[in-house]
Symmetry: C2
Subunit: 454 residues, 2 copies
């Protein structure tokens, strides 16, 4: 029936009203979840001292390209009327991440900012990729970054882990683990294994693919790079190390002493000490030498977050430490550490996998129903009293039969109806109905707040 | 000094890092206010039963043009690499308001929606206007709309007024008044004055300009339209009517009886009755026959909101009733009523006029300070305990002198510092310092929550 209705509606319109390919939107019930998430995310970032930053969605094209924007995926803006005239090209493009805008923001506001500068940003970014499952051309990212001036303590890297853990505990989607590594530990180990300088980054990339292509795939990739059997064996065996963080570090320290490695271990110990001092639940994070992260610019700590039992999802929150946020824009050394959550992708996956089941569309807790026009005045007064106390309560305002009004509550998933009929108004009572159980009882209007709090 | 610093920084960079013209951003202190506002706005809409809707920022070009998008101001998207090749034109453009996307959303989700469908939308829209003071190419709008199926009670129009009043009371920017009118009252009066059918819309537009160009200006405009002296006199005298709503309506009813007028009066009485039943503060709204609103598609109630004593700001929240949201897309009659707040413009004006004075950048209520590395562990533990209880508390993590740490709190406007020195750690105490008064006292660490709640 719904399918048929849709067909009739569509045939009446000469417009294709569907979302442009790669630009999805959530339906009402999904969007209610997204809104709740955004508010939890924002509150968690804010509780940890991050400032909100909201940069324009549009930046100068050369600034985006200057920091690694992929020109094939970049959307530039033109005015419609001038579309055949290249003069009209505005020189501006849509941002493709929140990091380049952060760098530009720091350059623009440098003298107003206090360092370490902790900011969060939540908003849409755009990539003109070929649309495919789980890939969108517009998607919402949620980022935090801490930017130091010249130096930045590795306790900040611990703080970031703690934020991830606070956040996913509140979002309550199941058991998760933040996996930690430090790039210097890996590159120090590679150097100790006499892997040539120019092969260190490609070897990192190979390790990064471990989860995707498995040990054999990584072995093949390393062979192709020209690594020998002993080197490959060593690398694979330390990516396999598991267990207590301190024990893992001590094991490696027995055999390795490269300066970079030692520095990485020291940085990691600061992070682990910070986490321990904050009494962060130790089952929520673990040292994992197989984490490398794809992005070139990470130089120290790297993070990935996995939802236990759902490896298909990949990392649900990743990031790391970098030496230089914005030198190209500011002429200054600004080390930082940050993470990013790809909200649109993550929520889409959680809905698709049934990990989150959106159950209702409306934020209303209460629908107030007048059985006829005569009770509307009392209904409006009651509704406003509830709203004035912050209760999510709405009045049904149309002149419709009772069954239609209950339908409205049912379809939107509003859990409670307050019914005002002739008798109720006369007796200054109301009937309170639990829409799930069907249970209902009459109470004095004056006791409504007591009844709702019970 | 700050100016000099900026100059040095800029000269080091070959990039122009400023925001593209017409795409502004707020600094940290302003952004904190914007974030607070957004959360109040969202909560108010949500308390009144509006569902969050978040449509893509990008829609099909023909759908935007189909509903009145101005092609001169519309931004279309192209891929950067293909910019000289018209094939690469994506056929998509950035939305210019939140109403056309609502219409498309209703068409897309028709079978999932429950009517009356109440939604709010908060997000950026784009217009390629010539940048000028108070005009932006990207700005945030906050809209609510209630969409009926076939019919929609005028009590909804009252509900919308109540939402405006709840909102601006919470935003607390001073005395304001929602001015109400109904287009049918005006057009009925015009018809009664024998103003020809084809002059009714231009006459409405002339009335709409009253505040901008004054009575003389409007008189001239009406003369140009061909209205005679008596007609002009009548129109101007009823736009001047002030006072109690019911008295105003009765005054007009004595002399006028056109069917459209009578219908408008009846609709307005429903709105006023609803407001009275909800016991909405009557000083917050008034009937005003000089309100017409520019947009063509309003057919009944129209709203404007003025901040008393700041007529320069214009209307801070406007909207109205329309007969048909999306017939072109859905083939159905969907009457609606809604309002819109131009958030970016409004906040910019409030900052510029000094009506809001952003005083601090950080959301943190507390900075926890360790006087040396030795106290860091205690500091981290305390900070985490506070955050776990939802207190906005951050740790200063860098190894810096005490004065630098106080500087950080000062510059960000963090009101309270908790200081942990050697003695404090030994005695399990902490020193609590009020950053405004400079007052400080030592308390047991175990009494921190009590002290903060005091």
């Amino acid at each position: 029936m719904q399918g048929l209705l849709k067909y009739i509606l569509m045939s009446k319109s000469k417009y294709n009203t569907s979302c442009p390919s790669g630009f999805p939107e959530f339906g009402p019930a999904e969007e209610r979840i997204q809104t709740q998430w955004l508010s939890i995310i924002q509150e968690t970032f804010s509780t940890n001292g991050f400032l909100p930053v909201n940069t324009p969605l549009v930046e100068r094209e050369e600034n985006l390209l200057g920091k690694g924007g992929n020109p094939k995926e970049m959307y530039v803006l033109k005015r419609l009327l001038d579309q055949d005239d290249n003069q009209s090209h505005t020189g501006n493009a849509l941002r493709f991440d929140l990091t380049v805008p952060l760098a530009l923001y720091v350059a623009r506001h440098f003298s107003e900012l206090t360092f370490p500068f902790k900011r969060y940003a939540i908003g849409p970014v755009f990539r003109g990729e070929r649309p495919q499952k789980g890939r969108f051309r517009q998607f919402t990212q949620c980022d935090i970054d801490i930017i130091g001036s010249e130096k930045l303590s590795f306790l900040n890297d611990a703080q970031v882990v703690s934020v991830i853990i606070q956040l996913f505990e509140k979002l309550n989607i199941g058991k998760f683990v933040v996996r930690l590594n430090n790039r210097k530990i890996l590159t120090g180990l590679f150097a100790d294994l006499k892997i040539p300088e120019d092969l260190i980054k490609p070897t990192l990339s190979a390790v990064d693919d471990l989860e995707k292509i498995g040990e054999e795939g990584v072995e093949d990739a390393m062979k192709l790079l020209g690594l020998d059997k002993a080197q490959i064996h060593s690398i694979l065996s330390f990516t396999r190390l598991k267990g207590d963080s301190e024990t893992m570090l001590q094991k490696l320290e027995k055999f390795h002493s490269h300066e970079t490695f030692t520095q990485g271990v020291e940085e990691m110990r600061t992070v682990l000490q910070g986490l321990s001092d904050m009494e962060v639940n130790p089952t929520r994070y673990q040292l994992d030498f197989s984490i490398a992260r794809g992005l070139d610019y990470y130089t120290g700590t790297v993070y990935e977050t996995k939802l236990v039992g759902h490896s298909k999802l990949g990392s649900i929150c990743s990031g790391g430490r970098y030496d230089d946020l914005a030198e190209v824009f500011t002429g200054r050394k600004l080390p930082g550490v940050g993470i990013s959550i790809g909200l649109t992708r993550l929520l889409s996956q959680l809905f698709a996998e049934g990990i989150i089941k959106p159950d209702r569309a409306s934020p209303s807790e209460i629908l107030i129903i007048a059985t006829s026009k005569n009770e509307m005045s009392t209904s409006l007064k009651l509704g406003q009293e509830l709203r004035n106390q912050g209760v999510h309560a709405e009045n049904y305002l149309e002149d419709k039969k009772l069954s239609k009004q209950f339908d409205y509550a049912d379809k939107l998933g509003i859990p409670i109806c307050l019914i005002l009929g002739e008798n109720e108004v006369k007796n200054k009572t109301l009937t309170i109905k639990n829409m799930k159980s069907g249970e209902q009882k009459e109470i004095p209007q004056s006791e409504i707040f007591k009844a709702l709090n019970a």
